[in-house]
């Protein structure tokens, strides 16, 4: 995983900082932020009913885990994200790669791809909720459709970036298009496919959470939205932090997969 908190490479004169110390500093950053927040509340600089309080957030965290509410919301959203991500990324990648086989269709579809790429994909969400109903299905569908578009466009672009000299070499060897596709295009596009997967972790999360904002009875997005309506800002923060934890978890998994796939 890319480590946003690690400092740039230290100059040669400085001793390298060990991994455990970095981790310690990373927790320290969090602790300082939370402490400053708490102190500002107590000094009356910012209002607890607008910002929530760290102590209240931690208490709410504990309560909601103990009661099982948070686990249930977390689990619902996680399923939506993973299912949507897998369905969208998989079919999107397969179709994007396969489009290489038909330059004619690639040309026909080009303006549609540009339009779909440009539109804020989340604007499709209300439609999808209407089509797929109020349950988990519609959130999976939103995440899947958004990630499909991203994977489709990115992987097709990947096939276009593959070195044409490889393709020419294969042709001169007498390879048929399907052989070139299998041997050159698919492995050659892999860096783009992996990049699309990375982007799609974020897009799947956005899709599922926005879907839950629109209408749902469970899930972290619902939890955040509903608590916000009730001005229960501590619970809003609990939801947001849970989403961050989920994003980090998924990021670690995708980074692990990326490591095996790249050459």
């Amino acid at each position: 995983m890319a480590d946003p908190a690690s400092p740039p490479k230290a100059p040669a004169t400085r001793a390298p900082v060990s991994g455990t110390r970095i981790l310690l500093y990373q927790f320290l950053v969090l602790a300082v932020i939370l402490a400053a927040w708490e102190i500002l509340i107590h000094l009356g600089v910012i209002k607890a009913y607008i910002y929530g309080t760290p102590s209240g957030v931690i208490a709410a965290f504990g309560e909601q885990i103990a009661s099982g509410v948070l686990i249930r919301h977390f689990w619902v959203t996680l399923q939506e994200v993973i299912l949507g991500f897998l369905i969208g990324s998989l079919f999107g990648t397969l179709s994007g790669l396969a489009l290489w086989l038909s330059p004619l269709w690639a040309r026909i579809l080009h303006p549609y791809m540009v339009a779909l790429n440009g539109v804020p994909k989340i604007s499709l969400a209300p439609l999808i909720v209407v089509w797929f109903g109020l349950g988990m299905g519609s959130k999976v569908a939103i995440a899947a459709i958004i990630t499909f578009i991203v994977a489709f466009i990115t992987s097709y672009n990947g096939t276009q970036q593959v070195d044409q000299d490889w393709v020419r070499l294969m042709r001169s060897l007498g390879a048929r298009p399907l052989q070139i596709f299998r041997t050159i295009i698919v492995p050659g596009s892999l860096p783009w496919v992996v990049a699309a997967f990375r982007l799609n972790v974020g897009f799947a999360l956005i899709g599922a959470v926005v879907g839950e904002y629109i209408s749902a009875e469970e899930g972290l997005g619902y939890h955040v939205y509903y608590s916000g309506q009730l001005y229960d800002l501590d619970s809003v923060w609990v939801g947001i932090f849970s989403l961050m934890i989920m994003a980090l978890m998924l990021e670690v998994v995708v980074a692990w997969i990326e490591k095996r796939l790249t050459y």
């Binding site: 070195d163 000299d165 490889w166 020419r168 070499l169 294969m170 042709r171 001169s172 060897l173 007498g174 390879a175 052989q179 041997t183 050159i184 492995p187 050659g188 892999l190 050459y263």
Partner: protein
């Protein structure tokens, strides 16, 4: 000499033909490559050598004339011509062995049989121990050697080399020239070598075709006539005939390109 394995007759290549920006890159070139022969094409930079190469390899359409390999039109004779460029075109996700077997796979030779052919070449030409290495772990000279093995593995009738050594440093280039010369003689390959390096042409080829500035035409043909046993490129360079040819070709080479319209 024996019959021609590759014959070009009146080859003409024009870019953007029929438009105002039409540029003739190759004008009426005819040449024959005999079995087991190494033919070098030498010309000034930008004269259309690579265009001619692509035409001979059947990679681009030609606007006039014909190129045949063993009597078959080259663009319909996929797999009869193998080529090697300055760019090694190794697939970075494949090991050395898997890169060498690429052409065999396309022809349906797979598995143990393909691997055996590749491993024999790898051992014979000095890359033993690197069978499972990825191209990124190899030096430029080693990568070009792998590219040559990939070309030889599927046993093409004609091998085309387009400036294959020009990206290498001088020492590696000399060593690889010697190696490639030895390998193509051992495998008795018919080879066309495109180069702007006169020394390279003399030390590797049996015959040298000198091309004019763009549009490329055949200006002259020289028999090298240096004893074949002189595989050592340094020894070849010490040969009196080398000096003589070098001077002749150098003087004939149209070095300053004519201003373009």
């Amino acid at each position: 000499m024996s019959e021609a394995v590759l014959a070009a007759h009146g080859v003409r290549v024009v870019y953007n033909e029929g438009t105002e920006s039409a540029v003739e890159a190759v004008h009426d070139i005819s040449l024959e490559l005999h079995s087991g022969e190494v033919l070098a094409l030498v010309g000034p930079s930008g004269c259309g050598k690579t265009t001619l190469f692509n035409a001979i390899a059947g990679l681009i359409p030609i606007q006039g004339g014909s190129v045949t390999v063993s009597g078959e039109r080259v663009d319909r004779a996929a797999g009869h011509v193998g080529y090697m460029l300055q760019k090694d075109l190794l697939l970075p996700w494949r090991s050395v062995t898997q890169n060498v077997t690429l052409g065999l796979e396309v022809r349906g030779v797979r598995g143990a049989k393909a691997r055996a052919i590749a491993e024999e070449l790898i051992e014979r030409y000095g890359l033993k121990g690197f069978e499972n290495a990825k191209p990124a772990a190899l030096s430029g000279g080693m990568r070009q050697r792998v590219a040559l093995m990939r070309t030889l593995a599927f046993d093409p009738e004609v091998v085309l080399l387009d400036e294959p050594f020009s990206a290498l440093d001088f020492q590696t280039r000399l060593l690889l020239q010697a190696d490639v010369k030895r390998i193509i003689r051992e495998e008795s390959k018919s080879v066309i070598l495109i180069t702007h390096d006169i020394g390279e042409a003399i030390s590797m080829a049996d015959r040298i075709v000198l091309l004019t500035n763009r549009p490329a035409r055949v200006k002259d043909v020289y028999e090298v006539g240096i004893d074949e046993t002189a595989d050592d490129p340094v020894a070849v360079r010490a040969h009196p005939r080398y000096q003589e040819l070098f001077t002749t070709i150098w003087n004939e080479l149209e070095l300053s390109p004519r201003p373009t319209r």
